[in-house]
């Protein structure tokens, strides 16, 4: 047993971080949000070229042939950079939806009772219904989009639409919907993790610079303890998510999603607190992380469902 990242995994992670730093720095991130959460087709394609969506497709199918752990590391970075878009759904549909693997197509996610993100840009809609999954495309998708009403989205990076009851619309069934849901939950948990780590970094940086009472606020225990709590949350969630990526065990994935949701939301809140009044401004990024974390917490696997799955696992 050696739980640490392999050399290759570290390199992959560094590569994605570099790519995102170059193509999606803070200015671009802000511009994307000001543009109403446009995912940026060009960046999407670049991610496709870099192999992000085809990461888990076998090499024989033109993919990269890597596994869940590598995907999790990539999505960790994506969460850190606050990249918008239905990335998990698109990766899961790669190989099924034409162009998804290459980053030519955007696959949005629809779950019963929840508004759909990025509908206007979607080339396909992945509909999750309990343990079933299907894909809506073409005319059916256009029909759904035509009947949808835009929602004033809490998350400026994710434009939302209320859609009609999708049960009435036929789609192409995806095999193994339960697995699609699990893997989507895990990749989303990884994004939460990256966001939690970013909030921690930002809080620590601010606490080391901002001075009050003649000393950096990070020297005050009340602030220090908030930061320590953030680290503990992030690291506990990190090991849970990484382990779930290795085992792909459904109960372990449920635990990972639960803890990663907690870490992303909790760390964003604490980061906001550490920033004081500055934290409450639109200018500071922390609210963006908090809003996205709230959004993701409701996707793929809710806390209630995760807890039920974890309870059912007990003797």
């Amino acid at each position: 047993m050696d739980f640490r990242l392999t050399e290759d995994q570290r390199a992959l992670r560094a590569g994605i971080r570099e790519l995102l730093a170059g193509r999606f720095d803070r200015d671009r991130m802000r511009a994307a949000l000001d543009g109403g959460g446009d995912i940026g087709r060009e960046l999407w394609r670049e991610l496709g070229t870099a192999g992000l969506f085809a990461l888990r497709l076998p090499e024989t199918a033109g993919g990269v042939g890597l596994g869940l752990p590598e995907s999790v590391l990539a999505f960790d970075e994506i969460g850190r950079a606050l990249l918008p878009g239905p990335l998990a759904a698109t990766q899961l549909a790669a190989g099924v939806v034409k162009g998804a693997a290459e980053g030519e197509a955007v696959v949005a996610l629809a779950e019963a009772g929840r508004p759909v993100g990025h509908l206007a840009q979607a080339d396909a809609l992945l509909v999750l219904d309990g343990d079933r999954a299907r894909l809506l495309t073409g005319g059916v998708l256009r029909q759904v989009a035509g009947e949808a009403r835009p929602v004033r989205s809490l998350d400026p990076g994710t434009p939302l639409w209320r859609v009609p009851d999708l049960a009435a619309y036929d789609g192409e069934p995806l095999p193994n919907g339960a697995r699609v849901r699990r893997e989507g939950a895990l990749l989303t948990a990884a994004e939460q993790l990256g966001s939690a780590a970013r909030s921690l970094e930002s809080a620590v940086q601010h606490a080391g610079q901002r001075e009050q009472f003649g000393t950096p606020i990070g020297a005050f225990q009340a602030v220090k303890h908030l930061c320590a709590g953030m680290l503990v949350r992030a690291e506990t969630a990190r090991t849970a998510v990484y382990a779930a990526a290795v085992t792909a065990d459904p109960v372990e994935i449920a635990g990972a999603k639960l803890l990663a949701d907690d870490a992303a939301v909790g760390n964003a809140r604490d980061c906001l607190q550490v920033h004081g009044g500055m934290g409450f401004t639109w200018e500071a990024d922390v609210h963006l992380h908090l809003k996205r974390a709230w959004l993701r917490a409701g996707q793929w696997l809710t806390a209630a469902d995760a807890q039920e799955a974890l309870a059912a696992d007990l003797a």
Partner: protein, 385 residues
């Protein structure tokens, strides 16, 4: 990221499992918690069995009498012994988990030869004399004095919260050898015999009603200079080694035990109907996530330690913080499962465990102190005043 165990590790596990199956049925009855001589005999008896089978001090270096096993094998050992319901390390805690490893790391050849084998065989029990009435979290402000007199130190002062002092043979003792030096500089780490003249132990009653720890009065106790581990006045550095072992590895096996407890709680809830309470059921589900994650965190820390030659890093503080609170939540949930009547019945094991869980956020460094450590040493935030 590899969570699979190697063939060698699996073979180690299989042999250990086989051994546990063969010895556990023959163990004597567990003694009453108040029966100290009985508890000592039980704990040392178990240690003796481990020793004779080659499992004592598994993770200690071979030249300290241990087996030099990898951290992963140690992890398997803790996992399997807990899973099989084998006795807990008990009164051997200090000797095996931190005094012994400290002596192995910092002691002279003679000191290792004198003190380590009896710990491994279960012949001698150690306790920890660090805390004082006025020096708990601020451990370095300790006042117990040691004055050089020929080949001896003459030690006077008072220690407190000394776990298992009643049955210990030796004490890892922190004393001030240079009162004029800055407080972290004038400390030395001594091994003191508990039956030396001048040592008085007065048991303290815990809130659980037991006498787990004691006050210790030291009145001109003579400790040979040769019983000092590390250089004179270099005791703080040695203490950091001790504390890293205490926080780094000492609680690992308990995570497995908590997972067993959680399963037992769920079984009880299903049995008594509390399982139908959605809030409670989901709370147990959440605890399942918590203890699973703590186990993964343990594996992460062990993998890190493996790469640094077995010395636990600051990850121990992260683990200790999260674990101590999770353990308390576990027993809060237990009280809910038991229901109003049984949660007040001290004869239910969970009720006593609920009480003892209250110490986890205090002993071995309080949560507040751990947060300071995490913030300053891991996150690099400025030191407070």
């Amino acid at each position: 990221m590899d969570l699979a165990y190697t063939d060698e590790e699996e073979e180690f596990r299989a042999r250990l499992r086989e051994w546990l199956t063969s010895v556990l049925p023959g163990l004597p009855e567990k003694p009453d918690p108040g029966d100290w001589p009985g508890r000592r005999a039980y704990d040392t008896g178990w240690q003796r069995l481990l020793h004779d089978a080659g499992y004592a001090g598994l993770n200690w270096p071979a030249d300290a009498g241990g087996r030099g096993a990898t951290p992963t094998q140690h992890l398997i050992f803790l996992e399997e012994t807990e899973r099989a319901g084998a006795p807990y390390v008990g009164a051997n805690f200090v000797g095996l988990l931190h005094a012994g490893p400290t002596i192995a790391a910092e002691g002279t050849a003679a000191q290792r030869a004198r003190w380590l084998p009896p710990v491994l065989r279960g012949d001698e029990i150690w306790c920890q004399g660090f805390s004082e009435p006025d020096a708990g979290s601020d451990l370095a402000s300790l006042r117990t004095r040691a004055v050089r007199d020929g080949d001896d130190y003459v030690v006077s002062g008072q220690k407190i919260w000394t776990s298992h002092a009643e049955v210990a043979d030796w004490c890892e003792l922190l004393v001030r050898t240079d009162p004029a030096a800055p407080k972290h500089r004038g400390i030395s780490w001594l091994a003191m015999r508990m039956d030396a003249p001048g040592v008085t132990v007065r048991p303290l009653r815990t809130l659980a009603g037991s006498t787990e720890f004691a006050e210790m009065f030291l009145d001109e106790v003579r400790v040979p200079v040769s019983h000092r581990v590390g250089a004179e006045n270099d005791g703080w550095r040695v203490t950091m080694v001790t504390l890293s072992f205490e926080r780094g590895t000492a609680f690992v096996g308990e995570v497995v035990a908590c997972r067993r407890t959680l399963d037992a709680l769920a079984a009880e809830a299903r049995h008594n109907g509390r399982w139908d309470d959605t809030v409670l059921r989901r709370r147990l589900g959440r605890l399942n996530a918590e203890f699973r994650a703590l186990w993964r965190l343990t594996q992460w820390n062990v993998s890190e330690a493996q790469s640094t030659g077995g010395v636990p890093g600051t990850g121990g503080s992260v683990f200790k913080l999260r674990y101590s609170h999770a353990r308390q939540e576990l027993y809060e949930a237990a009280a809910e499962v038991l229901g109003a009547g049984d949660a007040l019945d001290l004869d239910r094991e969970w009720v006593l465990d609920r009480l003892s869980s209250l110490s986890y956020t205090i002993a071995a460094g309080t949560s507040q102190i751990q947060r300071n450590i995490v913030a300053e040493r891991i996150l690099g935030l400025p030191k407070g005043r």
